[in-house]
Amino acid sequence: MMAAATIAHLKATSPVTTDEEFAKFCEFFYRKTGIQFKDGKKYFVERRITDRIEKTRSDSFRDYFTMVRFDESGEELQLLVNSMTVNETYFFREDYQFDALVGGILPEIARTKPRVTPIRIWSIPCSSGEEPYSIAISILERWDLADSWNIEISASDIDSKILHTARKGIFSERSVSRVSAQLRSKYFTTRLDGDFQICEALRESIDFSLVNVVDPLHTRRFREIDVIFCRNLLIYFDDIGRRETVEMFFDALRPGGYICLGHSESMSRMSSIFLPRKFKESIVYQKPLSAE
């Protein structure tokens, strides 16, 4: 067990890892999650490791790292992942992609897909839920064929804690600042503490799930997807991690399906098997219709 004085000492004498230990930790974390930390992130990473050392009452980084690596339940790794992920987002972020979805992508899907199968949309990483809920509201409000189709929205994240938040659907004023008063009154209730909770019907319509994109066991149930929103995830991966993730998406999409990436991300340096498509202000990427 670690004495409080020792913890204080750990905090005061940061760094808690030698360069070699830090490199080993980053390699381990990368292998488990695909997320890569550059040297500039050392302070960010070490602060979170220190916190986990303290919470698990480990004696040192070495003890803690041993525990994480050999914990068969994977619980501590999950808590570590939760602490390392960045979850800052808000409703209708990069909304030109939602314009593309309702104005171009969905109408095109509706022209080519048999009506008997649902349209499947996958939001990953979904963080605290703003993106999948924004997708849902955009479709309900702005796609005139919405009522003619069954639409499934799946939303996944590697962070189990943030998924819990997403399922609850409670958001701050800042998070909903881009939601109009009319939409707020239609889809949210204002809570006594001033936060906003999204309506139960929307909460119940989205399938939230824990997914680590580098684990095939997690991803193989996602098949025949029509649209994937994967925004600002691949920037945390190295080149090979990006390639593998994009290949996983290729398998998850139905032929003719689309991927929407973040504004700073481009498929061109990751893969040549998708076709760039322009819908209004957005460039999205399509799995060729002829792909098997």
């Binding site: 929205i153 399938d207 799930s209 066991l217 290949e247 040549s272 792909a291 098997e292």
Partner: protein, 205 residues
């Protein structure tokens, strides 16, 4: 409402039993591209399969399978893999050749010992592709090798490719070589333009 909840699984499926090497190698020739992709993906965990993956690249026509083959080979990168991929620089299949260049850029330590041979190849095009690899190679000596091309390669297009590379990764030490190159191709407007652009970029202007 138009939204229906997807039938997500509350628990993860059990892992599939790992397929043995022989099965995976056989699946590399399966009729369905998805089976070939899956085999190539899983073979990334088998270093002994590297040459089989290289063999498959030479016959595989499906772009999505090729892509997974290249990714697996990046995982398994070695000097032998780099040599096999370098042979694709002579291919007339442009997407295959470009994919080989991109894959080789991802294996700096594996390709580095072979770059001098490629840069001395009799075929101008192969030397251009070698320069293309260098321009995005995460290797400390890449700028130095590019400068060497600028100093010594007789072909204007190879030199122009090296100038583009130096514009990306070169430092101030490359400026003298670029000036010399301008003089070597004196009067050539394209080279004049390329050298000026690279020098401005290196100086941060």
């Amino acid at each position: 409402m138009a939204l229906v909840k997807a039938s997500g699984q509350a628990t993860l499926p059990l892992p599939e039993p790992a397929r043995d090497l022989a099965t995976l190698l056989a699946d590399l020739a399966a009729p369905e591209p998805s089976a070939r992709r899956a085999a190539a993906h899983d073979l990334a965990a088998h270093p002994e399969a590297a040459m089989d993956l290289c063999d498959r690249l030479e016959t595989e026509a499906n772009p999505s399978v090729r892509e997974v083959l290249f990714t697996a080979l990046i995982h398994l990168q070695s000097s032998s893999v780099a040599v096999r991929l370098a042979t694709l620089l002579r291919s007339d299949d442009v997407p295959l050749r470009n994919a080989a260049i991109e894959a080789l850029q991802e294996m700096p330590d594996a390709i580095a010992p072979h770059l001098r041979d490629l840069l001395a190849d009799d075929d101008n095009d192969v030397r251009i592709f070698a320069v293309n690899i260098l321009a995005f190679l995460r290797h400390a000596r890449a700028p130095e090798w590019l400068a060497e091309v600028v100093r010594s390669d007789p072909h204007i297009n190879v030199c122009a490719a090296a100038v583009d590379g130096l514009a990306e990764v070169g430092g101030l030490e490359a400026l003298a070589d670029l000036e010399d190159l301008r003089r070597r191709f004196d009067g050539n407007a394209f080279m004049e333009f390329a050298v000026d652009a690279a020098m401005r970029r290196i100086r941060g202007e």
